[in-house]
Assembly symmetry: D2
Homo-oligomer: 332 residues x 4
């Protein structure tokens, strides 16, 4: 249950209401909001005088749910706006990882040249083996900061765990919480203290319920700028890297109030399928898309098989604009 407290309610009173319901308290635009367990269906008598409005919920999809807010939230960064009434689809493109200064500059220049405003690249790579490239770390983050200024790009980059979360939150325009970090409550809560957009990637073994509940950790700390990203789940099928859960994305669009971004590159794992899946994602009506592009995919230090080369990506952007037009969406 979500309680909107009355305007005049003091912090001490708000804390009392939260305590009485064993609940979470945060402030949004000067209004105190209390979120209890979904098993509580009505405010306690002693709190009634402080409550302006309350929203009963069936599950712990609360602040993110359509019962609470029956439209898509607007999320903004740089000159970009998605969700709300915008009918925008944000393109977030770039290489899997920051590999070197020359590579990142080559990519950034290319991406900026296409008129794309948001650049993706990972500095902290969550690899499953200790014996492979783990990302450039802080050095990579600095390179991203550099190209941002030089090419007027917004940067989305990933937090893999708490060890570097603050640094990433400082530098990035959009903070990406990786699929493997989706359950890291401390990272989620730290992101909740920021007001920057937080893009949460669905864990490949995570249910939609758990996925949206990860967003609740951020939202209930007072950061309303959360984006959900479907990037493929793990199933019995191994001919492709993951299984792109477009049904799940449809569920998220229908049942939550958060913008939905799709990542066909990670779902597919092979560049040959990415353009068709990207066009499908656009016609589906996603609020954004993550696509991996690399100057020489075969030489990439991670995810070599799934990154598009420049010519394929340039063609894709043209196609996506046309498909976007067919469904009333603008690529931004």
């Amino acid at each position: 249950m979500i309680l909107h407290l009355k305007n005049k309610v003091s912090e001490t009173q708000a804390q009392q209401v939260a305590e009485d319901h064993d609940a979470i308290l945060f402030q949004d635009n000067n209004r105190w909001i209390v979120v209890t367990s979904s098993s509580i269906k009505k405010p306690k008598k002693e709190s009634l005088e402080f409550v302006e409005e309350f929203f009963e919920t069936e599950t712990d999809i609360q602040l993110a749910g359509r019962k609470y807010l029956d439209k898509v939230r607007t999320v903004k960064w740089g000159d970009v706006e998605i969700g709300g009434n915008s009918l925008h689809t944000a393109m977030m493109a770039g290489p899997c990882a920051v590999e070197s200064e020359s590579q990142i500059i080559e990519c950034a220049e290319y991406i900026a040249g296409l008129g794309i405003s948001t650049f993706r690249a990972g500095a902290f790579k969550p690899r499953t083996s200790p014996y492979t490239f783990q990302g450039l770390g802080l050095e990579g983050l600095e390179l991203l900061d550099k190209v941002r200024q030089k090419y007027k790009l917004s940067i989305i980059t990933e937090v893999k765990n708490l060890s570097h979360a603050k640094e990433v939150i400082d530098v990035a325009d959009i903070i990406q919480i990786g699929a493997k970090a989706m359950y890291d409550v401390s990272v989620l809560e730290l992101c909740g203290q920021s007001r920057k957009p937080i893009l949460i990637k669905r864990g490949f073994g995570s249910t939609l319920q758990e996925f949206v509940q990860a967003a609740e950790f951020v939202l209930s700390k007072g950061n309303p700028n959360v984006i959900l990203c479907e990037r493929g789940i793990r199933t019995f099928e191994t001919k492709t890297r993951f299984t792109f859960d477009l049904c799940g994305a449809a569920y998220l669009k229908y049942h939550t109030n958060l913008p939905v971004v799709l990542d066909p590159s990670h779902a597919m794992g092979y560049s040959y399928g990415v353009p068709d899946l990207a066009k499908a994602s656009m016609a589906f009506g996603c609020d954004g898309m993550l696509i991996e592009v690399h100057p020489t995919p075969a030489k990439a230090k991670s995810d070599a098989s799934q990154q598009l080369d420049f010519s394929t990506f340039t063609k894709l952007i043209t196609d996506l604009k046309i498909v976007g037009g067919a469904v009333g969406r603008k690529l931004v």
Copy 2:
């Protein structure tokens, strides 16, 4: 390995070649074709004189594979043609099941009125409980035959097992092998003896490899008219009925020579998601689409939650034509 035998080779000689390789023999346009296990990489010496050409394969995706035929096969029924160079996407629409004469006539009249040429409805329903509606059986098949003639529609309907396979093959224009019958070798082989189009639905627990191998059972009996249909696989996510494997469909487009049809209705299980998934399927570039439509979905005897009502479907057809236009495809 696939062997194309020389034109002059006699049936007896062809049988000898097949026997020597413990292989399958069939005739295609007067040419004898022999298919061995993929573990055999070269024709035996004693057969060489009969062999015109041979194709080594890595797995038992042989006749369906791109190594054998590097384009999409053309499949035709009624006035419809898909695959090949057509850039057509066939719409196959109708209710889940034949429920009564009045229901099937109402549907068929509506579908024909939209200019759609192919009508779907099941007479033999593969239900998982004995205590629910099992379909009208032969009576349903007769009703389908009736509306076909009255409304000049092509009919696609399902075989659930061997008990009624011949009857369905006789009546249907496209024979659908249901997801639960995908491993029924006797049904597959019977379909291989026909020359009608066979649409095989992927079992919800079946790998892509097994799925294409099911097609091989039909192809290796000499029926080249096989269509693959992705309709959702079973995963840990249960908020939607199944998980639509669009990555898998991309794999099939890239690695096989068979047309690929998509079924968003069964994948999603809820009507709210079907239009977005259908538009995604069109932009993805599928060769056909199965959509469930019912005059009064809430009263449907099976799959009530996923069938579209007429007004939603009419709007969808308009949208699909526009999206089709954006990717150079025509809805037929």
Copy 3:
């Protein structure tokens, strides 16, 4: 809902009750039993005079459910009895497939020599590729009939589809419905007309609910001798052939009244793991076990990697008896 009709009720009256509830009717020990959809919770007024007792059920797990019968049913074949109060665990051992007369005789002699009473081997093999060994068919069935008589063994063998179901039902002592045939309603119903034990293998993509509902197709035709067999489900893990669902088996023991047999050989797919899994199965308290044994596993025409050789199996039998002793179970 299950209705037990009164003793004096005539067939016509019983049919009327069934019709009034759109239900299934069968006779068990001269008693008419009617099973309705589980959505019906009370007998109709006009039927009340014929009803002796009724059992409400929540789902379509009805005749197999603990709400209907709160103990494990006894199932017998040859001298073997499992379930009930027996605390017996039946060993069903033999090769994957009947490959030749000499192979099957060598196996049968060995199995009989160990004092094992039930022999397994497949004559109709449900293979996923047309280009591999499909089993010896009727010839294999005849060989099984032969060794049964010669070595006084009971035979369990598989039906893969309707094309040979009658022949297998005639010859086998236990009819195995394979994982890929679990949804074949016509085969299930045919088995329901027999009174021989029917062992249903869970489809690797089938939920427990669907699995038990497959048993309902047999039970509701009047055959009470149904055994459930867990043989591994398909998951994202591919280092082993399948994933052995022992949690699911625990669910079946707790919620159904049918004996539960386990098949570690198919679940694991590799002989190295079979003995540990078989001992686990025994300590778990299964009513039976299927184990694949072959004179020369490496030369087996199917499932070569998972079949035990004779010396490993002989040792395993010794171990299983000891583990059985520890949990109060006898290997039969």
Copy 4:
């Protein structure tokens, strides 16, 4: 590839060898060990003079693999020893979470009274919703420290992320890395700097390969005391909480050199199945077992459905000793 450097090799030389192979370096019993990517198959020429022995590996299962060390490593804590030649199975029992001082004392007293040496309970609970009990945190850790001293119990408790990893490593006798933290490289590396036993729980969406690679992060920091714990994976079956992957555990026993612990409580999620699964685990031959026990399960603040009550657990311990006897294993 793993390189054992010669005894006389200096730290500088060792670092040079590591750098030349873009590899990881650590010291084990005064010996320098270098681990390269598994794609490197031979030491470089310039390093040969420093190399005493090297081990080629096919995948990044290296230090944990049987190719490197063909026996189970011994891991010790308190008076307990598992792995090696011990044939010991360690019982780690206790409630899901530390809920209060009285609850934890009641549990610890009971567990110690049964002669069990290792006590489990979580202070930092990795919950998926922010609106539920998150554990007592540091206060819980202090309570665990207290009962350890009072009842002479060894403590196993969980790290959920980096925010409290040092504190847990300080207090616990065995550090448990939870299923949701399995990919947290910073936590793994921190544990690698300790010499305490690290029990890694398999992520419910993690492949066996990724699971063992998580262990490699710890091992390659120089901590050889790693234990693998299978606790159920997420599959399409939802009647039970997870699917217990005993085939996977068999794989781990065969292919790795790490002790394998099983957790039937989390896999099953329902207390009714836990005793049978625990007996199965014992007969399977696991090196340890985690079982949840609570004085009043129905009132537990987390995992209420799966915790055993005291009388069920007392009976289970008796049974496990008997089953252990049957397979030559001792419960410690």
